[in-house]
Symmetry: C2
Subunit: 236 residues, 2 copies
């Protein structure tokens, strides 16, 4: 294990604004009172009085929860607790240009881990129609070995695999990670030339899905993504 | 594939507030201008003028970005773009009591997928010290088969596995998913009695880590978590 600097080991004290404090208090209150989606929240002015802060600060904190989908405003009913968007916050910050190298490497690996682990769910849910659609993607891909075509079909093929799991959260999460994977692979290629291509192609993976079980498919996926994983892993 | 209702197939039009619109414009602006962490942002009053909205609305939108860690205020320099917290938004909404059943099932499966996929990263990074620490956890666990002790050691064992990957994003993400896993497993147990226990125990997994390769470990993990996965998968 690489030795870490002190600033990696001790978390920085982030300066809190009033909105940070009020947001935390509101979330604690909602949890303590076991608010459920649909329950009406106290009015903004009541919250400001109870917290002894300005309405502007309460509005800021409520706006944050609104962004996460945790609260909605309904005609006549006012503010209610809502089903949050589980990946909304993640989606907003998922930009390779503003994330640091360590986080990008972590996310690169996370995609690899997820793809190595999806076989069992995939085999439980996939249909014959899915396999036909996947075959159409593979057929279109033939001979497109140059970027950006390569990237387009890479995303089409793997995106279809995620969709075949019928797990919307997983699918959306993985689709968010694909640009990070492409970004890191492209940066790596600029530094050290194109990675070795995995021995197993998309067509081979399709054949495994048609004729073999989850263990063989997983082994195929490992060989397909392995060269990327190995060189990134070595460079950490 | 189960047939879906119309409301599952067509996304609802969420009513936008002014803060929603301004937040989106700001994120588009930061992206278009390729702002990097450390770059100074225009002042609040300048943004309000350029967008032709009130300063309160701009402050709300900025407060949202501040919550995600995307902006910070520095003495003398004013607002700057910062390294966002990749999982901060996710962490805030990760509460089993406010998520709907479908999302909880998705997250339950996501943990399973991640745990099935972690073997290769684990074997690349784990150390002898890690294995000793894992052994201590397993030794303490013996004979603790009742909740809540069972849950405590479940979290200690699996949490240690995540930490052994040296991937902080993965570790934090998986630790956030553990309460969902416990919640769903407990709810399921109330309805249909305790799940069959997997044939492979934590001690067996430890022995596999010591003496076998990633493929065998993965097969062990599948048998360890499989009974949970199967009954949840069947009930979808």
């Amino acid at each position: 294990m690489a030795s870490k600097s002190l600033s990696d080991e001790i978390a920085k004290i982030a300066p809190s604004t009033m909105a940070d404090v009020v947001e935390l208090r509101l979330r604690e209150y909602l949890k303590k009172k076991a608010f459920k989606p649909g329950d009406a929240l106290p009015k903004e002015v009541e919250l400001a009085e109870a917290l002894d802060v300005s309405r502007n600060v309460v509005r800021e904190a409520l706006s944050r929860l609104r962004m996460l989908g945790m609260i909605e405003t309904k005609k006549r009913r006012g503010m209610i607790l809502a089903q949050p968007d589980i990946l909304g916050g993640f989606e907003r910050v998922m930009d390779p240009l503003i994330l640091d190298r360590k986080t990008l490497m972590d996310l690169f690996e996370l995609r690899f881990v997820l793809e190595m682990g999806l076989a069992d769910v995939l085999y439980t849910r996939m249909t014959d129609v899915d396999l036909k659609e996947l075959e159409q993607i593979v057929n279109k891909e033939v001979n497109q070995v140059q970027r950006p075509f390569k990237v387009k079909y890479e995303i089409a093929f793997h995106g279809k695999l995620y969709q075949m799991t019928r797990n919307d959260t997983f699918t959306r999460f993985q689709n968010m990670l694909l640009p990070v994977f492409e970004y890191v692979a492209t940066e790596e290629a600029k530094l050290n030339g194109e990675a070795k291509v995995g021995k197993i192609t998309h067509r081979d993976l399709l054949e495994l899905l048609k004729t073999a079980g989850p263990e063989d498919f997983r082994q195929g996926m490992k060989e397909h993504l392995g060269p990327h994983f190995e060189r990134i892993s070595n460079s950490r």
